[in-house]
């Protein structure tokens, strides 16, 4: 059987996430630290919900909040950032 990828960017499988949960991760950032799931190019935008579902087997999903939201919310070219106005 093929692998079941949860985090598509960092190629993290369901099994790896289950192991991280067994290792004590109870939050999305705990999973992220242990597996890199959510650290990829899309910054967890695709896998967040799937991991929340896995975590919610042992934790109230209301308490599973996304990791701190930080700019940039879209990938931005560094050259464009530095081209900006001087304020």
């Amino acid at each position: 059987m093929k692998e079941e990828y949860i985090c598509r960017c960092e190629e993290v499988t369901r099994e790896e996430i289950e192991r991280a949960i067994a290792d004590g991760a109870t939050t999305l950032s705990g999973i992220k630290k242990r597996t890199r799931a959510g650290m990829g190019l899309c910054q967890g935008r695709t896998c967040r919900r799937l991991i929340t579902q896995m975590l919610s087997k042992t934790k109230n999903p209301a308490e599973i909040t996304p990791p701190t939201s930080r700019p940039p919310v879209r990938a931005v070219k560094i050259g464009e950032i530095v081209e900006g106005e001087d304020d």
Partner: protein, 364 residues
């Protein structure tokens, strides 16, 4: 740094409706959208909308988009396209990239109308080329005019799954089957009936066991689920297919609201964590409003109403509409929203939205 009175992030149905209302009242409105074209998801909606006349029922989504655009133009709303908002900082400072440069915009009021994004689903083979979001397939056929594949398996029987299945056939593809993990069809029966007439079988209590193929999708093995949502051995079925579309729900795109520091509440019926807002669509942060799917996933019709509400409220707070007139307008919009949130499909959302409003009151 640019300044404006009302900045609207997202030029979808909610954002444009908001801009129209606020500009009509006289406010200076700037709409930002990362796409080349405004309209958000409206331009891939080629079916006729439900609702009543006030909700533009019977009109195809893309035409509603065209109408909204021409209204914003007439009213002189500034619509900044290809403008990627990447940050929302303290003191209502919006950072965005446009024309290959960094820009900032400070607004007196900000309306976040960023919509929602499709949920993913994991199964063996879910990363193979050919597995994609139903919305992705919809964009390809209706906006870009290319077929993602010829033989499609649709996963999910909500309105998105049903409608996209229909539209894939309109574009010339075959839908081999639609499968649904729940024991019943989630979307409107009339949408299901359309694709059944076209010969698409719908399998409830069924999920994907595996997608076949090494380099791309070649087939799909499904399996039936028991009452505990566990696969039943021996019920596997194999389909030949080159495309798998996932229509397993949407989640509000809330990052900018989190970043701004809005308080959230958890309401599964609305798609998870959603920003708390009051009856004016204002969040827990004064001057920051939300509208549309970001406040909880619904139909485009409700998104437009919420947008209008935010537009009226923001314009009122800036003094462009007097309290009495604003109250009148808001009453009308609330009534229209209530009309959309009735019946077996709407009740759940009605009580969910009520819960959302109550959490605002509890905080106050």
């Amino acid at each position: 740094m640019k300044t404006t009175e009302i900045a609207v992030i997202g030029a979808g149905p909610a954002g444009l409706s908001c801009a129209v209302e606020a500009a009509r009242a006289g406010a200076k409105v700037t709409v930002l959208d990362e796409n080349l074209k405004p309209g958000g998801q409206l331009f891939k909606q080629i079916h006729k909308f439900f609702g009543s006349r006030e909700h533009k029922a019977g009109t195809r989504g893309f035409r509603i988009g065209e109408q909204l655009l021409s209204e914003t133009e007439k009213l002189g709303v500034e619509v900044l396209l290809s403008s990627t908002v990447y940050g929302l900082y303290e003191d209502r400072l919006i950072a965005y990239i446009k024309d290959g440069k960094d820009n900032t915009l400070r607004a007196e009021k900000i309306v976040i109308a960023t919509g929602a994004s499709e949920n993913a689903l994991a199964f063996p083979g879910c990363t193979l080329p050919g597995v994609m979001g139903a919305g992705a397939a919809q964009t390809m056929i209706n906006v870009n005019r290319v077929l993602p594949g010829k033989k499609v398996i649709m996963v999910g029987s909500g309105n998105v799954g049903l409608i996209v299945s229909y539209q894939l056939m309109q574009a010339g593809a075959d839908v081999v089957a639609l499968i649904e993990a729940a024991p019943k069809i989630g979307g409107y029966g009339v949408h299901a009936a359309k694709i059944r007439r076209a010969g698409v079988p719908i399998f409830v209590s069924t999920t994907i066991k595996e997608v076949l193929g090494e380099e791309m999708v070649e087939g799909v093995v499904t399996v039936e689920l028991n009452e505990k949502w566990q696969p039943i051995e021996g019920t596997e079925r194999e389909f030949e297919a080159d495309t798998v579309c996932l229509a397993v729900g949407l989640s509000p795109l809330t990052e900018l609201a989190w970043m701004a520091g809005c308080e959230f509440t958890f309401i599964p019926a609305l798609g998870g964590h959603v920003p708390i807002h009051d009856k004016n669509m204002e969040t827990t942060l004064p001057g920051i409003y939300v509208a549309g799917d970001i406040t909880g996933v619904e139909e485009a019709s409700s998104a437009m109403e919420e947008g209008r509400l935010a537009g009226v409220a923001a314009a009122e707070s800036l003094g462009y509409i007097d309290a009495q007139k604003a109250e009148e307008l808001k009453q009308q919009i609330w009534a229209r929203l209530d009309a959309l949130r009735t019946g077996p499909f709407g009740e759940g959302r009605f009580s969910a939205k009520l819960k959302q409003l109550n959490s605002r009151r509890l905080l106050a």
